[in-house]
């Protein structure tokens, strides 16, 4: 999923200070799962913002709505009946959702309430960790199902570097050395010999380096 974290309240308050009526929009997909911008977080933020305004002797009118999927224009349409009743929109979705709302309502200021972080998985309740960088040319088949692009701090395709220590990365003892994980997995698969094949320099065009990307499925489009 795409993970996100709520922005500091001060930053959000700074955005909406000039307004008195806002639409706070959550998303029922990834940000709900990572507890950053689902219905519940919308409620909490709404309450917190209203109190912050009350403290200053001001009133903030908040309309709350959590869309099924904010990155889909079809669902963003649901905001139409509300949009004229507000001065600005605050989105709790990932950057994709924020942009969809901004695109649909050109005359309304739209602000993000979360920082979109990474594509990750849930390690345990309340803990999410990065797993994929969307490089556009998956190497997991060569690396035992562990991604060196996303999980090695230097994204080495022929690791580990000299900083691997007791299975941990040199940048932080909390971070697993991706290449230790890869090596362990190659061994348990009995294919450790493949380690010595040099992975050639990556073609980063399929990644962000090639410019903004797009997928077109002719059969569906």
């Amino acid at each position: 999923m795409i993970t996100a974290e709520r922005k500091p309240l001060d930053e959000i308050i700074d955005y909406i200070k000039p307004f008195s009526r806002i639409l706070l929009v959550g998303c029922n997909e990834c940000v709900t799962v990572c507890a950053a911008g689902g219905r519940k977080e919308v409620g909490l933020l709404s309450s917190a913002l209203q109190m912050a305004f009350m403290k200053e002797g001001k009133v903030l009118d908040v309309k709350e709505l959590t869309l099924e999927r904010q990155c889909d224009p079809e669902y963003v349409e649901e905001l139409v009946p509300l949009i004229d009743q507000v001065d600005a929109v605050v989105s709790m979705a990932c950057g994709c959702g924020v942009q969809e709302v901004a695109k649909r309502f050109k005359e309304k200021p739209v602000f993000p309430a979360v920082n979109t972080k990474f594509m990750g998985a849930s390690e345990r309740q309340g803990v999410w960790a990065e797993r994929c960088q969307g490089c556009g040319d998956c190497v997991l088949g060569m690396t035992g199902g562990i991604c060196p692009v996303a999980r090695c701090s230097k994204r080495l395709l022929n690791g580990p570097c000299g900083g691997s220590s007791n299975g941990k990365c040199e940048i932080n003892p909390e971070v697993d050395c991706a290449w230790q994980l890869i090596w362990d997995r190659l061994k348990s698969l009995g294919i450790e010999k493949t380690y010595e094949e040099i992975v050639p320099a990556k073609d980063w065009r399929t990644s962000r380096d090639g410019g903004p990307r797009k997928i077109i499925r002719e059969d569906l489009a």
């Binding site: 309240l9 917190a48 209203q50 912050a52 305004f53 009350m54 403290k55 001001k58």
Partner: protein, 147 residues
């Protein structure tokens, strides 16, 4: 400030604190009438939003009272509640309401005296802190509106 009587909302677990409140009454321990008790089936059932709404609607202090560690009828409801309270304290600090207006306490059903003491101490704490700044702000708006 002399006339300030804090409004305290106490979310009390049915299995411990709520019974402890009864016990306090039976044992004739008095506690301030400022404390409004809301019975919940488990402290873990208290939603963050309930607490925020309590503050938003004018509570000056809120506490959650659950079972002693290890005694939760639903195993870890009290621990979940403690985590949630810790998170909300941060949020309350961020918006300038103040973390000290929210607390988590634990007790057993038999601790009538503890219930009364916590209710008294917490009420005094909030009395010293003064009114919920959000309420104070909205009072200001009312005055502006009237004036």
């Amino acid at each position: 400030m002399d006339t300030f009587e804090p409004v305290i909302v106490a979310f009390c677990c049915h299995y411990c604190a709520y019974t402890a409140a009864d016990m306090a009454g039976t044992m004739r321990y008095s506690y301030p009438p400022n404390v409004y008790i809301i019975r919940v089936p488990c402290s873990g059932k208290v939603d963050a939003l309930h607490i925020m709404k309590a503050f938003q609607k004018g509570a000056d202090g809120v506490y959650v009272a659950g079972c002693l560690e290890g005694d939760c009828h639903f195993k870890t409801g009290n621990i979940k509640a403690a985590h949630m309270v810790a998170y909300l304290k941060g949020l309350l600090d961020e918006i300038g309401i103040g973390a000290e207006r929210l607390e988590m306490f634990t007790m057993s059903a038999g601790m009538g005296e503890r219930f009364a003491r916590i209710a008294t101490d917490f009420t005094e704490r909030i009395r010293k802190l003064g009114p919920n700044p959000a309420k104070a702000g909205s009072d200001k708006t009312d005055k502006v509106a009237v004036g």
